[in-house]
């Protein structure tokens, strides 16, 4: 299993909001292992999808150059079961961004059906962070590969509406140390 819980962004507006989709397939092991004999998408992984979509949106605010981690999932609600063949659409909106972290409101829909809603808090562990508290999660080239796979630079726009450019971010090996 690979820890990718969004398939693709369909919208990514820096500092504002993003939309990403995740197709749920019978080919995925986790759907069978959650409740044996009744394949459904585990809600913990729906939360992870919302966190990945929101985390990348927040990470962009820090130039994709620093470690941003999910600190807290507040007020998460799940309203239904997501089955194979359905597509989850995650919508994340930045509520507030600070030096120390950010708050993001997230929803997950299947078509028109609201499946989940949550308030997420991300902590920014910048350069001043003690290395013993944790290393970087990603090598820049791995992060770049992920951003490319999920289409951030295809659909992403800056706050002024101009397209995001990969070259605007320190995603080359060695640039961020």
């Amino acid at each position: 299993m690979r820890w990718f819980w969004i398939d693709r962004f369909t919208e990514f507006v820096c500092g504002s909001h993003a939309t990403a989709v995740k197709g749920v397939s019978l080919a995925e092991d986790h759907i069978h292992e959650h409740i044996v004999g009744y394949p459904i998408m585990p809600n913990s992984l729906v939360a992870e999808g919302m966190a990945q979509a929101g985390g990348l949106l927040v990470s962009e605010q820090y130039g994709f150059g620093e470690l941003v981690v999910l600190g807290k999932l507040a007020k998460a609600k799940f309203h239904s079961c997501v089955r194979n063949g359905e597509t989850l659409t995650y919508r994340v909106e930045v509520d507030s961004v600070r030096e120390s972290g950010a708050a993001v409101t997230a929803t997950a829909h299947v078509g028109e059906r609201l499946h989940a809603e949550a308030l997420l808090f991300f902590a920014r562990l910048g350069e001043e962070t003690d290395p013993l508290q944790g290393a970087r999660l990603f090598r820049p080239r791995d992060l770049r590969h992920w951003l490319t796979l999920v289409g951030v630079f295809e659909v992403g726009v800056k706050a002024d509406g101009s397209p995001m450019q990969e070259s605007d971010y320190p995603l080359e090996e060695g640039v961020t140390g």
Binding site: G71, A74, K75, S96, S100, G101, A103, F121, A123
Partner: protein
């Protein structure tokens, strides 16, 4: 300017939502970390909620001046020195630091911050 009761009521609501505690646990004397189990990420949550509730802007280090507590000019052997205490009083006029002064171990400051201190902080911000 809202009354003391109004401030307490909104602070209480913010803490109930942010920390998942019951209304009656959020008393003025309750300490945020000791009694209400607030963790560091919760402070970000609390700050965002207070900003919305009172339409104020809270900068980093305003509620909890971590920069002083990590400055070697103010901290020696894990304890805040006299200059540090003076600096804390200047930065935290809303907090009752008398208990902290008697044993100024860095970790104690966060442990001793109460709901009442939080309400005083909001009143201080609203009056500014």
């Amino acid at each position: 300017m809202p009354s003391e009761d109004e401030i307490f009521s909104k602070v209480q609501e913010a803490l109930v939502d942010a920390l998942g505690v019951d209304d009656d646990e959020v008393t003025p004397e309750a300490t945020l970390q000791g009694d209400l189990d607030a963790e560091s990420i919760d402070f970000l949550d609390i700050v965002f909620r207070l900003e919305k509730a009172f339409d104020i802007k809270i900068e980093r280090g305003e509620l909890f001046p971590e920069d002083i507590l990590t400055d070697t000019a103010f901290v020696q052997d894990g304890k805040v020195n006299e200059a540090g205490i003076a600096k804390l009083k200047e930065r935290m006029p809303f907090a009752d630091l008398s208990k902290f002064e008697s044993e100024p171990i860095v970790q104690n400051l966060g442990q001793q911050l109460t709901v009442k201190d939080m309400c005083n902080f909001v009143a201080y911000k609203l009056a500014a």
